[in-house]
């Protein structure tokens, strides 16, 4: 299968070259090359332990990476700290939800605005007008984002008290608050029933309409087939296939990775 045949025409946003993350002898991610274009929704799939989340962790600066390049708009991300990567326009959510449990939903989103705001000590201490103006703007934007993900009425709830599905959406709102160009979602539908998953798929499409490119790890094949423009398949830390969803599921190596050699033949 040719990757080039299915590559869309949009401008290249993210280019990963020969990326590796080794833990001692374990090659959690190895020799990964891939390209993501502006405006795409791209899924990463693969069996458990295939290195998908590790790959995301290297992209977002959680792990340093052992080798290779991550070019985002031509800028090297590898070696940058996690908060600086957010500042250049890459935001993410987590497989096991990581909200600020004892802050309200609204405050969670307001924290996401950190890199786009400037007030430091004097502004808040002296309640300068520049501080009040910025606070107001942050609050307005956070409310808009809560509304965008459908949590408008839950803004004053503590994050820990929100229902599971709402927590997943709140993570997305918090990530969007930093105005990312690339949004990385780690299993956004994990633990959701089919209706909730449908809901989330619609939300991801709406995110793309905002001009945000989306990269996600997804296990529910129905969701993958539904929203992905392209799919990357990982197995044992290596990318074994890429292409349109329909092409990928017909790929012999992919079937082998999921079902073993018997299934492929």
């Amino acid at each position: 299968m040719s990757a080039k045949a299915s590559a869309p025409a949009g401008r290249v946003l993210l280019e990963v070259k020969d990326l590796a993350q080794h833990f001692g002898g374990l090659k959690a991610v190895d020799q990964v090359n891939l390209t993501i274009h502006e405006g795409e929704i791209v899924s990463v799939i693969g069996p458990n332990g295939a290195g998908k989340t590790t790959f995301f962790n290297v992209l977002t600066g959680v792990y340093p990476g052992t080798r290779g390049e991550i070019l985002f708009n031509g800028q090297e991300l590898r070696g940058m700290s996690g908060h600086a990567i957010v500042a250049v326009g890459v935001a993410r959510t987590f497989q096991n939800i990581r909200l600020f449990a004892h802050m309200t939903a609204l405050e969670n989103v307001m924290v996401g605005r950190h890199t786009r705001t400037f007030q430091f000590l004097l502004g808040p201490l002296l309640r300068l007008s520049s501080f009040k103006k910025e606070e107001k703007a942050v609050e307005i934007m956070a409310k808009e984002l809560l509304d965008f993900v459908g949590l408008k009425s839950l803004g004053n709830e503590l994050a820990k008290n929100l229902p599971y599905g709402a927590q997943r959406k709140l993570e997305i709102a918090r990530a969007l608050a930093s105005e990312p160009k690339l949004l990385i979602l780690d299993e956004p539908t994990a633990g959701m029933n089919p209706t909730e998953s449908q809901d989330l798929v619609a939300l991801v499409r709406k995110v793309r309409e905002r001009g945000v490119t989306v990269l996600l790890i997804e296990h529910q094949m129905r969701v993958v087939m539904d929203i992905s423009d392209r799919v990357f398949v990982f197995d044992y830390g290596v990318k074994i296939a890429e292409g349109k969803p329909k092409e990928v599921v017909a790929n012999a190596r992919v079937i082998e990775a999921y079902l073993g050699k018997e299934g492929a033949s």
């Binding site: 959680v62 996690g82 935001a91 990581r98 600020f100 609204l106 000590l121 501080f131 910025e134 409310k143």
Partner: protein, 320 residues
Amino acid sequence: MKKLINNRWTPWIALAAAAIFPFIAGAIDANYLVRVGGVIGLFMLLGLGLNFTLGYAGLFDLGFIAFYAIGAYTTAIAMRAGVPAPFALVLAVLVTVGFRALLGLTILRLRGDYLAVVTMGFGEIARLTINNLDALTNGPKGLQIAPWRPLNFLSTDPNIQYYLMILAAVALGVVASARLEDSRVGRAWIAIREDEIAARLSGIPVRHYKLLAFTLSAAFAGLAGGLFAQWEQFVTPESFVFWESILVVSIVVLGGMGSIAGVLVGALVLVGFPPLMQWKLSADWINYRYLFFGLILVLVTLFRPQGILPSSRREAELTS
């Protein structure tokens, strides 16, 4: 209860009552309580300071009293060298903050229990250094300083003067804490406490903000130490033992981590109650203060694990 705490008049009424108290204390034969009130105020300042580190940023610190000591000794040494008292206080804050920043730069890579152990070690090192650095601190014999009584126009009683100055410092500390808490900086600290990795990947430079909280907390300790030295006119290493660090941590934890009202109530209960028992019941009661202390710890842990007055988040207007 929550309504009472959040009422906009509550702080003003509390402040007014606290300010009037020393002038009516004489009438009810409670001059002793003015002195106790001053000590409570010093621990409120220490608690407000530690609240930045422990309450907001979630960094355990078991050696906080070392910075109270640095503030007190800086003031004493400066005043003995002829620095005017108000400048000595400013110097105390600056020197304390400087030491704290240096310590923070070296140890803030550590987390949780490891950080607690290292700060505890620093607290002991500071006390032992003060105890043995005779040339500067006069060792266990301590340092005497000349009296400074700037509020003679209000009262000639030094206890009342320092009570009022400490009260002013506490009021200032409360305002500064509340304003920082409700800002981009405060949200960043609390986010770090809640989930450090999520905070970093939401764009917060975690190490900088930890260092900031750690350093700012020392300004309160330095000021409290300076006022303590000027009030007592005497500093010795005995005032800065490990137990005092534990007391400050207990004030923050029992009051409610990250809760300003909690810190104030925590100091009032833990520092105020033992001398009150001694005053009302008998002098022997002071021997039971650790028993009392343990009892409060157990009761609060059992019935209010979030603290006496847990912090509550500001509610926004959502309908607009």
